[in-house]
Amino acid sequence: MQTHDAKRVEIIIEAPMEGRLTDALAAAGVTGFTVLPVLGGSGRSGQWSREGQVGRSGMVAVVCLVAPDRLDALLEAAFAVVQRHIGVVSVGDVQVIRPMRF
């Protein structure tokens, strides 16, 4: 089946920053993304878990599929939001079956 190159960007970020991130993405012309819940994790700022969270709003994972030429714009936008916050950004190569979406 015919597929098309694309980039899969996965941004794991604090929940309170989600809105700002997605707005920044939209501003950078990235209108497609999916937000997944995160149960917990560990990093330089220690380990945390979502269970019975009170006061700690946890994190979310934002997955973006973009055309390769859009990648830099996306990363610039994302990094501007993420840089001062805990979280991680990774980019992988993928194939998609619907080019028109990106």
């Binding site: 920053m17 220690g46 269970e51 019975g52 969270q53 009170v54 006061g55 001062r84 805990i86």
Partner: protein, 350 residues
């Protein structure tokens, strides 16, 4: 106004105070310690520290807090509808807001004085102590109800009004002690909007207004839901609070030195005294005085932490969350509330 926060269980007995003595305070403290609420909190705390896998689902904890906010706000509104506004509403609101603005400066000075926290972390912590803990407030109202002590219904409005101002003071402290632009304040209209229309503020004020509008007839339709089961729900919610606090403490070993912990015990007392002064100056009722002390003594762990993550991302959340939730919250719950109530009773009915 005796029914203001009475839990309608019909078991309220007006506690007559002619004179006052230490043994009575101790009895009350013991009585408070033996309440299902406190013991449920202790159970959660112990379970978490013992690394039990006991947990309350996030959605359930969220729902219980929505229930508590709705119930407490609604009851407050109905109380005002029943008993009318005494002249103190404006004064109480103003006093509460003033406390919320002022206390962060005290907290900041104290932290810089006795702890080694950076200006940034100190300011972030200070914001929490100017703001309030609604669960501490809710627990205090149920303690008052159990003892049949009246309180102004509009104290819930005061609680809502005290959530945000402390954040302003804290951010001002950061900019003044400006620790380099890389760790500067991230404050924008959007954050203000998030803070002021924070879910808990909106629900508290909204249900207060609903109670005010529907009054006794409205209460008659839903009291079986918001009054009768209230203290039981509070038990399960405090069980979860204990679990979260315990997990926080477990994870925070090494993060808090004894100085910081000391602050977490001293600051609520300072706040309580400040609240006492304001409340007495306003001439609030016994219950009103106790609740104002509780509000001033309590530290936020919902609205403020979220705001700090956005406005001061470099501040370490483990410090302010552990202090507020793991040190000050249990202190107020177990020692603070009964003491504040006792003092309020002594000074207003003595």
């Amino acid at each position: 106004m005796a029914r203001a926060f009475a839990d309608g269980s019909g078991r309220d007995t007006w506690h007559k105070n002619d004179g006052w003595n230490v043994s009575e305070i101790l009895t009350l403290a013991a009585q408070n310690l033996l309440s299902p609420m406190i013991l449920s909190f202790a159970l959660g705390l112990g379970a978490a520290i013992a690394r039990s896998d006991l947990t309350v689902p996030e959605a359930a904890a969220k729902m219980m807090s929505l229930y508590l906010l709705f119930a407490i706000g609604f009851k407050g509104g109905v109380a005002v509808a029943d008993h009318g506004l005494d002249g103190h509403l404006i004064g109480a609101l103003a006093g509460g807001v003033a406390l919320s603005f002022a206390l962060p400066f005290v907290a900041f000075a104290l932290l810089r004085g006795i702890t080694r926290l950076s200006a940034l972390d100190a300011a972030a912590v200070a914001a929490h102590y100017g703001s309030i803990s609604i669960v501490t407030f809710v627990t205090a109202t149920s303690v008052l109800a159990a003892r049949g002590i009246a309180a102004e219904g509009y104290m819930v409005a005061v609680a809502a009004a005290m959530e945000a101002p402390a954040i302003v003071s804290a951010l001002w402290l950061v900019t003044r002690n400006g620790s380099g632009n890389d760790a500067g304040v991230r404050m924008d209209a959007r954050l203000w909007h998030e803070i002021l229309l924070n879910g808990s503020i909106v629900l508290l004020v909204g249900s207060f207004l609903i109670g005010l509008a529907t009054g006794a007839p409205g209460m008659a339709r839903i009291d079986a839901f918001i009054v009768a089961p209230f203290q039981g729900v509070l038990c399960l919610f405090l069980l979860d609070m204990g679990l979260v606090a315990g997990r926080g403490l477990r994870g925070a070993r090494g993060i808090l030195d004894w100085r910081v912990v000391a602050f977490g015990l001293i600051m609520p007392m300072i706040g309580a005294v400040a609240g006492l002064g304001v409340a007495m100056a306003l001439g609030l009722s016994t219950g009103g005085v106790a609740l104002m002390m509780v509000l001033a003594a309590s530290a936020s762990y919902i609205a403020v932490p979220a705001a700090m993550r956005v406005a001061l991302p470099e501040a370490n959340p483990s410090i302010y969350l552990t202090l507020s939730l793991g040190v000050t919250f249990p202190f107020n719950l177990i020692i603070g509330i009964p003491a504040y109530v006792a003092i309020a009773v002594a000074l207003t009915q003595g």
